[in-house]
């Protein structure tokens, strides 16, 4: 992984601080999350203290510090989805997969993220699994989707 990050940093050879967020975004895109080594490497590259970079990264919702699961589930919690039952959906997935929002299951298979708004309000409530949308969910459909996913 270190290697991939170094190659990526080479693209930003004359960069200043204003490239920090794009660099972190690129790393996350490439390896899926920001590991401790990654943050240290970026610090060396931009000659910035690691604590400052960590402070910045934790400010933004986009950055994650654990790898995603094989199946990354995003539940939309925008206003429209909220009114049409997003909370029950989150409850249900948490109970079924035994993980909390923001966590990855121990076997690395599932991760759950609650996002502010996917912007598909006409299809609410919506979730996306690895980028594929499942829309207008009902209790029954979400149950079926998880059964298909877990194979139970």
């Amino acid at each position: 992984m270190e290697n991939r990050i170094e190659i990526l940093l080479d693209k930003y050879s004359h960069s200043r601080r204003d490239s920090l967020i794009p660099i972190l975004q690129d790393i996350q895109e490439e390896v899926g999350y920001l590991s401790e080594e990654a943050i240290i490497l970026v610090g060396k590259h931009l000659e910035m203290p690691t604590s400052k970079i960590y402070g910045l990264a934790t400010f933004y919702n986009q950055f994650r510090f654990e790898p995603k699961g094989t199946f990354h589930i995003q539940v939309c919690h925008g206003t429209a989805c909220h009114m049409l039952g997003a909370v029950s959906i989150i409850d249900f997935i948490e109970k079924r997969l035994k993980i909390k929002a923001g966590q990855t299951s121990r076997n690395g298979k599932y991760s759950l993220e609650v996002v502010p708004c996917i912007g598909a309000c006409s299809q609410s409530p919506v979730i996306s699994i690895n980028g594929e949308y499942h829309s207008k969910l009902t209790a029954e459909r979400i149950k079926q989707i998880l059964i298909d996913l877990i194979g139970e």
Partner: protein
């Protein structure tokens, strides 16, 4: 013949990609590639009935098209010229089928300025934009007008910022133009953070070039050569389309050095927001672009004096920019003839929630809430009663029945205790609990407060906790009083717009629905039946025949019982999703 297929996020969530694929193979199989063009467009706005397919030149408007319908559309409509009746829209008022969109209630009262090209052109092809007068405005400006004359047109048009604040755009440009500097910047704010709003996303997905063109015009006016679009990373489709548009514009010499041989240079780059609502606030957005935490700073200095990298910076919203080229071409008088005295032109709203026609609409300022909800929006879902419409998202408030005939514009909404915001409009019916809605927005604010100033960081958390106690049935009258007082303090003392407006949902629901607060506090009841702590699902043993339907459908297996014996719901496991109620044919389950 052209087949336009909606490629907005909503429709793509319901299979428009495979519809396009199907059309292409079907048309190729019939050897019609040269006669029929399949085009992926931006959002038609009528998301409720998506995916939408529109056939040109006869303007037939098919709704809820499925991949399985494609073969029939090709065989019947394309080849034989016969419309596929079963896919036409049915007017809910008289059950008549409507084939041309302009006769639909949804479109009749709309005027499309910012959305003029959405659902009309292929956003991935600059030639189609040009064919609809695209890049004519920048050409005209560069050839005929000085920067000051151009700013004058925008000022005269009365255009006000669509990002929420409603600041006069021409004046903003003028200030930025007068601050001398070796470099200036034009920034487009596409960080659309209001949960439940998708106007800016739809403009960028459906008509990216109009924003690029307007940014170049702005650059010419204020003396900037560099533009930056700050867009949410969560909008992958809009990002892709912007990248394509920028590349095409550069190839045509519409961006880059010496645009149209005028000697004016202007180029645009993209920056991706990293998911912080507060970064929609302009000073915070600029800090984020500089690689800092997205924390706002006091104004003044305004970005127009000292913005990105300390240089004069003009920040405008996507929809504001999208309106500019038309104003240049059609003139300030034309634009200012639309709208109300102090709010000119049109406004795009994202209609969502309990409304029949969920979607994207653009109406003249001054349209009433009643027209928006009952004529364009087709009324409330399932024949329920209208209760409120929330505008302005987490910074706004709710409009109720008594506001139905108020003309919607910047000033009237503020007078009604809400605000225009960026254009999200969430409609609620009798089943929605207003206390719980206020709590939802506060939860959002607490999560999104940047933490820089104490009233917002700590105060909103306290507001949220009080609301939580109220919705759990633990609130007191004293706390209701504290809720209001604390709200006012937070509004007065917060540093940026986020904290200054975050208590609005609380204040406005308290003003309009105080009885609901009282019911939660005094009677420990949620009149709308939404607050889960205040309700319990129970099986009535007398009515239950023991069919097991509920137990088999409970997603968390909270229901137990033998066949033909009364069942029991374990309230500790039950997540109150309501699946059992739907399944019980004997009405044996009730909410207590």
């Amino acid at each position: 013949m052209h087949l336009l297929v909606c490629g907005g996020t909503g429709c793509r969530a319901s299979a428009s990609d495979s519809i396009i694929e199907k059309f292409k193979t079907e048309i190729a199989a019939k050897g019609l590639e040269n006669d029929v063009q399949v085009i992926l467009t931006g959002c038609f706005g009528f998301c409720e009935k998506g995916p939408i397919v529109k056939v040109l030149p006869d303007n037939t408007f098919y709704t809820q098209v499925k991949p399985e319908d494609v073969a029939e559309i090709v065989a019947e409509h394309v080849i034989k010229g016969r419309k596929v009746n079963r896919l036409l829209y049915i007017d809910p008022t008289n059950q008549e089928k409507i084939s041309d969109a302009k006769h639909m209630g949804f479109y009749r009262k709309q005027i499309r300025i910012a959305l003029r090209n959405c659902g009309v052109i292929n956003p991935e092809n600059v030639d189609e934009y040009i064919a609809r007068d695209g890049y004519h405005a920048i050409g005209k400006v560069l050839k005929e007008y000085t920067p000051a004359q151009t700013i004058d047109i925008i000022k005269k048009s009365g255009l006000r910022g669509r990002g929420g604040g409603g600041f006069p755009t021409g004046l903003k440009w003028e200030i930025a133009s007068k601050n001398a500097a070796d470099q200036k910047y034009v920034v487009c704010n596409a960080d659309e953070g209001d949960p439940g709003a998708f106007m800016d996303r739809s403009v960028l997905e459906g008509d990216p070039h109009s924003v690029l063109e307007a940014m170049a015009i702005c650059g010419y006016c204020i003396g900037a050569t560099q533009g930056v679009i700050y867009i949410r990373a969560e909008y992958p489709l809009a990002i892709t389309r912007l990248k394509i548009a920028i590349k095409q514009a550069r190839e045509y010499g519409l961006l880059g050095k010496d645009i149209m041989g005028s000697g004016f240079d202007f180029d645009i780059t993209l920056r991706y927001g990293a998911g912080a609502f507060v970064c929609g606030e302009e000073t915070s957005l600029i800090h984020s672009m500089e690689g800092l935490r997205g924390e706002p700073t006091n104004k003044p200095p305004f970005p127009a004096e000292s913005g990105y990298l300390g240089k004069p910076t003009n920040v405008n919203n996507v929809e504001t920019f999208a309106s500019v080229p038309v104003i240049i071409l059609k003139g300030a008088d034309w634009f200012s003839s639309i709208g109300t005295e102090k709010s000119k032109g049109t406004k795009v709203f994202a209609l969502a929630g309990k409304i029949n026609n969920v979607g994207l609409i653009e109406v003249p300022m001054g349209t009433t809430l009643r027209e928006v909800i009952f004529e364009i929006g087709g009324g409330i879902k399932n024949g329920k009663k209208f209760k409120a419409a929330q505008t302005g998202g987490p910074s706004g408030g709710c409009l109720t029945e008594k506001h139905l005939d108020t003309p919607i514009d910047f000033d009237n909404l503020i007078a009604a205790g809400s605000m225009m915001g960026s254009g999200g409009m969430i409609v609620m019916d009798e089943d929605d609990c207003m206390v719980s809605i206020a709590k939802f927005f506060l939860e959002f604010t607490v999560e999104e407060s940047c933490g820089k100033c104490a009233p917002c960081r700590i105060g909103n958390k306290r507001l949220y906790e009080i609301l939580e106690r109220i919705t759990n049935g633990e609130g007191t009258m004293e706390e209701l009083e504290r809720l209001r007082n604390l709200s006012l303090v937070i509004k007065d003392t917060s540093l940026c717009g986020l904290g200054q407006t975050s208590p609005n949902p609380v204040l406005s629901t308290m003003d309009n629905f105080y009885n609901e607060y009282l019911a939660h506090v005094n009677d420990k009841k949620c009149p709308a039946g939404q607050c889960k702590s205040l309700m319990k699902y129970v099986v009535e043993p007398e009515a239950c025949v023991g069919c097991t339907a509920c137990a088999r459908n409970c997603p968390v297996n909270a229901i137990s019982g033998e066949r033909k014996k009364p069942h029991l719901i374990d309230t500790a496991i039950c997540i109150k999703c309501g699946a059992c109620i739907e399944k019980c044919k004997f009405n044996a389950i009730s909410i207590k």
